[in-house]
């Protein structure tokens, strides 16, 4: 069962903040966040593991609520380059990622 992402789409002005949410009905080992630009491959942003370990880009922050099986990606002071579709991928411990339907983010000047 795929994770549920919200919102489906968001439009920001440069410098504004956004939060993208991802929730799963299954117990998760880790949550992975990717950004995909049109016609390109998903680019790894961050991984959050059960137990609190995180690894990712310095300018990206995220949280993982293990009790609720929810993760949020925080985009602050958005730049034009942040535009794209953000996917969360969930891992129940079997390494295969199940992706959500994505959140389309558009940053305008």
């Amino acid at each position: 069962q795929q994770p549920v992402q919200s919102p489906q789409a968001v439009i920001l002005r440069e410098g504004e903040d956004a939060v993208i949410n991802c929730s799963s009905s299954k117990a998760l080992y880790s949550v992975h966040w990717y950004r995909q630009k049109h016609g390109e491959a998903p680019v790894f942003l961050m991984i959050l593991l059960k137990g609190g370990e995180q690894k990712g880009h310095e300018k990206i922050s995220a949280s993982f609520n293990e009790k609720k099986q929810q993760s949020s990606l925080y985009l602050t002071a958005s730049q034009l380059s942040y535009s794209g579709t953000y996917f969360c991928g969930t891992d129940t411990g079997r390494r295969a990622l199940t992706f959500g339907s994505g959140t389309r983010l558009q940053v305008q000047p």
């Binding site: 992975h32 998903p42 790894f44 593991l49 996917f87 390494r95 990622l97």
Partner: protein, 114 residues
């Protein structure tokens, strides 16, 4: 910075033909994956591969599909008797064997079945 590479970037084939998509994972990675993305939709897991065998596969990965590591660097996805609905972007990914499981995606092969 090491990266996953895939060839070809675009493959056009006729329905019923066989195609082989190729991937070179990051050199010190030992887990390999194939995902696909139908245009405008989410990324879907197909199969994972470790230690020269399939470790997990999805419902999509039926007898039409097979994977192989023919040598020390390549990882291939073979699709037999292609169907129109196989048209998609196919991504290869790889990760280290550590528990963190960061998966890095290749640029993809766009498969068009006509």
């Amino acid at each position: 910075e090491p990266e996953v590479t895939q060839t070809p970037s675009h493959q056009v084939t006729q329905m019923g033909q066989e195609v082989i998509l190729r991937c070179v994972p990051i050199s010190n990675h030992l887990y390999f994956y194939w995902y696909r993305q139908i245009l405008g939709q989410k990324v879907e897991f197909l199969v994972s591969f470790y230690n020269n065998e399939i470790s997990e596969k999805s419902e999509i990965f039926d007898d039409q599909f097979s994977v192989e590591r023919p040598d020390g660097s390549n990882f291939t996805l073979k699709i037999r008797s292609t169907k129109l609905e196989d048209s998609a972007m196919y991504f290869c990914a790889s990760s280290e064997t550590s528990g963190v499981n960061e998966q890095y995606f290749g640029p993809g092969t766009r498969l068009t079945v006509t």
